[in-house]
C-alpha cells in the first residue's frame, strides 16, 4: 500500500441561527461519522480522523476522534462543560484526517460533503 494521505484543514463555520451546546457535540460527532463511513475498511479506519472544535468567543474546546465506526470519542475542555448555553453562532474547526487507501482529493470531497450535511445545512 502506498503512503498515507494527510489532509489537514482549518475551517470557520458560521451558523445562521445560533446552535445549542448540546446539539453541537451531536452534530460534530455526525460529521466525524460521515467522514469515517466514507473512508472505512471493514468497519475501521486505516488511520485516524481527528477534529478540534473551538468556540472563538470563549475559547472552549472539544476534541473528537474516530478510529472505528462504532465509536466516536469526544473530550471536552473544562470550559466547554462550564459554558453558558446562550447559543453558539460560530465555530472554528481544525480537521486532521490521516488515512491509507484514499487519495487527497477523495478525502477533501468526503470532508466537504460531511461538513455540509452535518454542520452547514443543518
Amino acid at each position: 500500500m502506498s503512503d498515507a494521505t494527510v489532509f489537514s484543514q482549518s475551517r470557520q463555520i458560521a451558523f445562521s441561527t445560533p446552535a445549542a451546546m448540546v446539539d453541537l457535540e451531536r452534530l460534530l460527532k455526525e460529521f466525524l461519522l460521515g467522514v469515517g463511513e466514507a473512508l472505512s475498511y471493514n468497519g475501521i479506519i486505516l488511520g485516524h480522523i481527528k477534529v478540534m472544535a473551538k468556540i472563538p468567543a470563549g475559547g472552549e474546546l472539544l476534541f473528537l476522534s474516530l478510529t472505528r465506526l462504532d465509536q466516536v470519542d469526544s473530550k471536552a475542555s473544562p470550559a466547554w462543560n462550564r459554558a453558558e448555553d446562550a447559543g453558539v453562532d460560530s465555530l472554528e474547526l481544525t480537521i486532521n484526517v490521516l488515512v491509507f487507501g484514499y487519495s487527497r482529493k477523495t478525502v477533501e470531497t468526503v470532508v466537504n460533503t460531511a461538513l455540509q450535511r452535518a454542520l452547514i445545512q443543518g
Binding site: 500500500m1 498515507a4 489537514s8 475498511y41 475501521i44 488511520g47 472505528r68
Partner: protein
Amino acid sequence: MHILLFGGFLGSGKTSVILQLAKRITASGQETVAIIENEIGEDGIDDILLSAGGFTVKPLFGGCVCCQITSDLVSAVDEISRTLNPDWLIIEMTGLAVPGNVAKLIRRYDASGAKCKTITIVDAGRWAELKEVLEPLVVSQVQESNLIIVNKADIAGPDIETTIADVRTIVGQVTILTASAAGQLPPELFEEVINLE
C-alpha cells in the same frame, strides 16, 4: 532527565496513555515532565489537548517522513535538556514513525546522555486489519521496542489473545502489557513504563 519515547499506529492511544502518565508522574509534586509532540499536518491537535492538561508541550510539525523530522527532534531534545531539564521527557512520535529507528538516532546524537525507553502502543481493536493491509509498518513499529502496550482491551473481545500471541512472535521476550486507556490505567502499568532497568 530520562526519555520515554511513545510510538504506535495512528490512533492507537498514545496521547491517551501519555496524558494519564504525565498526571501520574507529576501528581506528587516531586518530579517534572515535559512533552514533545510530533504531529503530522499543519495544525496540531494533540499538543493543545496535552497543554490543556497543564503540561509543558513542545510541538514539532512535519511531514509523515520520520527521517525528515529526526534532526528537529534531536535539537528539541537537546534544547529541553539544557533549558527545562525535566525529570522525564515524554515524546509522542507520529503514528507513522518507527520508534526503534527514532530511538537509535536519539541514542546516537543526544549529548545529554539521557536513558531512552521506547514504548509501542498496539490497537487491539484494529491489529488484524492493520496487519493485513499495512504489515511492514505495524510490524516495524513493534520491533525493537522496549515495552509493548496492547491497548483498547475493553473493545477487543476474545481476539485480543490472538493479537498478543501474534505480537509475541514479533517481539520475543519483550514485556507485553494489556490496557484500556479509555479508563483509569493501573499503577502497575505506570511502574513498568517508568522502569528503566
